[in-house]
């Protein structure tokens, strides 16, 4: 079963061990691999209100399942401290696109990125699109396929994307499929 969610919905989700049924940490931040457009892992924090703000890193390869209520791992051994991750050069690559401006190929600014939309299936989460906020405050969803390029400051999208925005996650899946069927970034 697969679901489409906003990346920020994963913040605070508990990390639960399959061997002892304990919630050992929760998601502090979602780390992305910009080259693969996937979730590369999670930065963790403690569960209690006054607990440690840094409880390690969890690579996506060590995740057994991403569920609606918990992220499942085999055991607490799957979590790396930040120091260990740095020593092993295994810190997931990341690119912060939140807050980046959104510009069409024809040079029109359409807003800024306020969230990433993820397609979650099993233990993997792929970036399916972006949620953008226009200058007038309205929000819409843009399929990943509509993006031309991305930097830390700007997300460039195809002009044709303006025809395929959806204002709710339910309709977003259909919008992605429709854009893929029409295909051309130069528009139909």
């Amino acid at each position: 079963m697969s679901i489409v969610i906003r990346a920020t919905e994963l913040i605070g989700r508990p990390i639960v061990t399959l061997d002892t049924a304990e919630d050992i940490a929760e998601v502090k931040d979602v780390v992305f691999d910009p080259d693969e457009s996937t979730v590369a892992g999670f930065a963790l924090r403690g569960r209690a209100a006054l607990s440690t703000p840094n409880a390690g890193m969890l690579r996506i390869a060590n995740v057994r399942a991403i569920g609606r209520d918990a992220i499942m791992i085999a055991s607490a051994n799957e979590v790396m401290t930040e120091e260990t991750a740095a020593e092993k050069s295994e810190r997931p690559a990341r690119q912060d696109v939140l807050g980046a401006g959104v510009m069409t190929e024809s040079g029109t600014s359409v807003g800024k990125v306020i969230n990433l939309i993820l397609h979650v299936q099993g233990a993997r989460a792929n970036v399916a699109g972006y949620e953008i906020e226009a200058p007038d405050g309205t929000r819409s969803l843009v399929p990943l396929d509509a993006s031309v390029s991305v930097s830390g400051e700007t997300l460039m999208v195809a002009d044709a994307v303006q025809k395929f925005v959806a204002d709710d996650l339910t309709g977003f899946g259909a919008a992605i499929e429709q854009f893929r069927l029409t295909g051309s970034r130069s528009g139909s």
């Binding site: 079963m1 508990p14 639960v16 061990t17 399959l18 061997d19 002892t20 049924a21 304990e22 919630d23 057994r64 399942a65 991403i66 569920g67 609606r68 209520d69 918990a70 992220i71 499942m72 099993g122």
Partner: protein, 168 residues
């Protein structure tokens, strides 16, 4: 096979004196999905302890009686009957031997009303009842709504939830 929800509050009787020594309050479940012990709120007043069990029904429910929760190991249960749980004597129950048991005595590891989480990370609901073998303490099923999860589906029992596989 019996259900736990109907057994909570069942009388615990000592066989050597026919005295009621407590009522079942919680169960202590191991990682092997078996009940290892039960807990009871022991009646600490010795006067009441010597009275016939039949005359103790009303005083036992009095909120003024002091009570020290204690543990009765499954191995010390002679029989788990439909009306009473029988053990050898009033001295058989013991105090909690560890922090983990202390939590269990206070209901910290109870299965009833505990959340059931699938190995896919989805909460299915609260455990409404537990079906177990009254002879061995082995749990045979967890009831969540209309569904009953068998022992082969139970993956882990822990402080956060009971984890079960939905695969049949």
């Amino acid at each position: 096979m019996i259900r736990l929800r109907g057994a909570v509050g069942r009388t615990i009787i000592a066989r050597d004196s026919a005295q009621e020594i407590g009522r079942l309050t919680h169960v202590v479940v191991g990682s092997d999905a078996r009940i290892h012990a039960i807990t009871t709120a022991e009646i600490a007043d010795a006067t009441f302890a010597r009275a016939p069990a039949a005359m103790m029904a009303a005083p036992l429910m009095s909120p003024d009686l002091p009570a020290q929760p204690v543990v009765l190991d499954w191995a010390d249960i002679i029989s788990f009957g439909p009306d009473a749980i029988v053990t050898s004597s009033a001295s058989t129950p013991r105090v909690a031997a560890s922090d983990a048991e202390e939590r269990a005595v206070r209901g910290g590891t109870d299965l009833l009303n505990r959340s059931l989480l699938t190995d896919s990370g989805d909460m299915l609901g609260k455990i409404d009842d537990v079906e177990f073998d009254e002879g061995t303490g082995q749990i045979h099923g967890l009831a969540v709504g209309e569904r009953l999860f068998g022992p082969s589906n139970i993956l882990a029992i822990g402080p956060f939830a009971v984890i079960a596989s939905e695969r049949t």
